[in-house]
């Protein structure tokens, strides 16, 4: 079964296409905006740049309903545990964009209180440079992310999950079998001893009666 799931076929690729189409065109961002980049994100949302052109106008402020965590701004050590918790609260599939120099590397705040890049805390899919990033750069990052999502295979991910589970099941079965065999061997040996003993007893008894 594992091999079959790995191979792409007409059903799985079509399903992949459908799922990825849906995912790419309605990326709901969670703007984790802390500093200057958040103001540029506000500019991205309004009329001139218009984020809704790529289906992302529905900005969600709850991690449970969003797909993209957009970290816009400096993350300090005081903020770091909160960012990590927000990331953990997001449901799969989830992606992370690090917007601006501060989120990518700490920017020019090489200091006692700033985290040198959010990738010390959470995994990042797309990095955007700039201090702050221009709205155009933000769009570019969204397109990059869309490309990345289009390359992903939903069925493959499922297959990998299933494969992991299958391997786990196989390993467990093998272990159980080995255990069972060992146990059986022990039992057989015990039985053998018992039979041998009984036979000897019988032989002894027979000898006794003969005598």
């Amino acid at each position: 079964m594992g091999n079959e799931a790995e191979k792409p076929n007409i059903i799985t690729t079509s399903l992949d296409f459908l799922v990825n189409w849906g995912r790419t065109n309605s990326l709901w961002p969670f703007p984790y905006g802390t500093a200057c980049c958040a103001i540029e994100f506000m500019s991205t949302e309004v009329g001139r740049y218009d984020l809704s052109r790529i289906g992302s106008e529905y900005v969600r402020f709850t991690p449970r309903q969003s797909d993209v965590l957009l970290v816009a701004g400096t993350i300090t050590y005081k903020q770091a545990p909160i960012l990590k918790r927000i990331y953990e609260q997001m449901a799969e599939p989830r992606w992370v964009i690090a917007m601006g120099a501060c989120a990518c590397s700490g920017g020019f705040y090489d200091c006692y209180c700033t985290v040198p890049g959010i990738d010390h805390i959470i995994p990042v899919d797309v990095y955007i440079g700039g201090c702050p990033s221009r709205p155009e750069a933000f769009f570019d990052a969204m397109f990059d992310l869309q490309k990345k999502i289009k390359d992903e295979s939903f069925m493959k991910q499922r297959a990998e999950q299933v494969k992991d589970q299958l391997e786990m099941i196989k390993a467990k079965t093998a272990e159980a079998k080995a255990q069972a065999q060992e146990f059986a061997h022990e039992k057989v040996a015990e039985l053998k001893d018992f039979v041998v003993e009984k036979e000897q007893n019988l032989v002894k008894k027979a000898q006794f009666w003969k005598e």
Binding site: Y77, P81, K84, R85, D110, Y112, C113, I121
Partner: protein, 200 residues
């Protein structure tokens, strides 16, 4: 009333000395013992009412060239809100051995946070302050970052988020409530600690 006249009053009443470093305005150096009285005088006693505390700044003179005397200083800026804006600054020198200054948070409401900030950044203790905690740095921070001997890149991870409930209880008691039973807030979970932090 001009700043010069105010300084003359301060000199007469509290033995204030003129800070020679301030060549552009009026800075009076007072001893910590007279600080509270001097501020009270500025706020209510003087003809010009210095009704706004503009800023409190801590200064560390550790690497200042040719500096003699105590290592730290706390500098207070006051101004009058009424039209001819008069500014005056008070300065208190604080030795490394004592590190104590009386609080003025009973006179000005915003002194509370300013003093917390100076305590956070320099470790200067304000005696009589109602709630002297760190303001900008996190609770697990060790040391005082704006001192000249604190390396700028010495990073300190925070393991988990701050716990504001005791502060809230304190505020409730200030307002005249009595807390009978503490709320069962979820205690920080050991699995949530960030890698690299003290507790992890």
């Amino acid at each position: 009333m001009t700043a010069e006249e105010i300084f003359a009053c301060l000199e007469e009443k509290f033995g204030a000395k003129r800070e020679t470093l301030d060549k552009w305005g009026v800075t009076a150096v007072v001893s910590a013992a007279y600080l509270h009285n001097a501020v009270e005088f500025l706020k209510d006693g003087a003809d010009a009412k210095f009704d706004m505390l503009v800023d409190i700044a801590g200064i560390d003179y550790l690497t200042y060239p040719n500096h003699e005397g105590p290592r730290f200083a706390v500098s207070y800026s006051f101004k009058t809100v009424a039209a001819p804006c008069v500014r005056v600054r008070l300065k208190v020198l604080v030795g490394e051995d004592s590190l104590k200054v009386p609080t003025i948070s009973d006179l000005y409401a915003n002194a509370n946070w300013y003093e917390r900030e100076v305590y956070d950044q320099f470790g200067i203790v304000f005696e009589g302050h109602p709630d002297l905690r760190r303001l900008l740095n996190h609770v697990e921070f060790v040391g005082h970052p704006l001192r000249k001997d604190y390396p700028a890149q010495k990073r300190q991870w925070l393991s988990t988020n701050d716990y504001l409930l005791p502060t809230l209880e304190k505020r409730l008691e200030e307002l005249g409530y009595r807390v009978l039973q503490r709320s069962k807030e979820v205690e920080p979970n050991d699995n949530e600690f960030l890698e690299g932090s003290v507790k992890a």
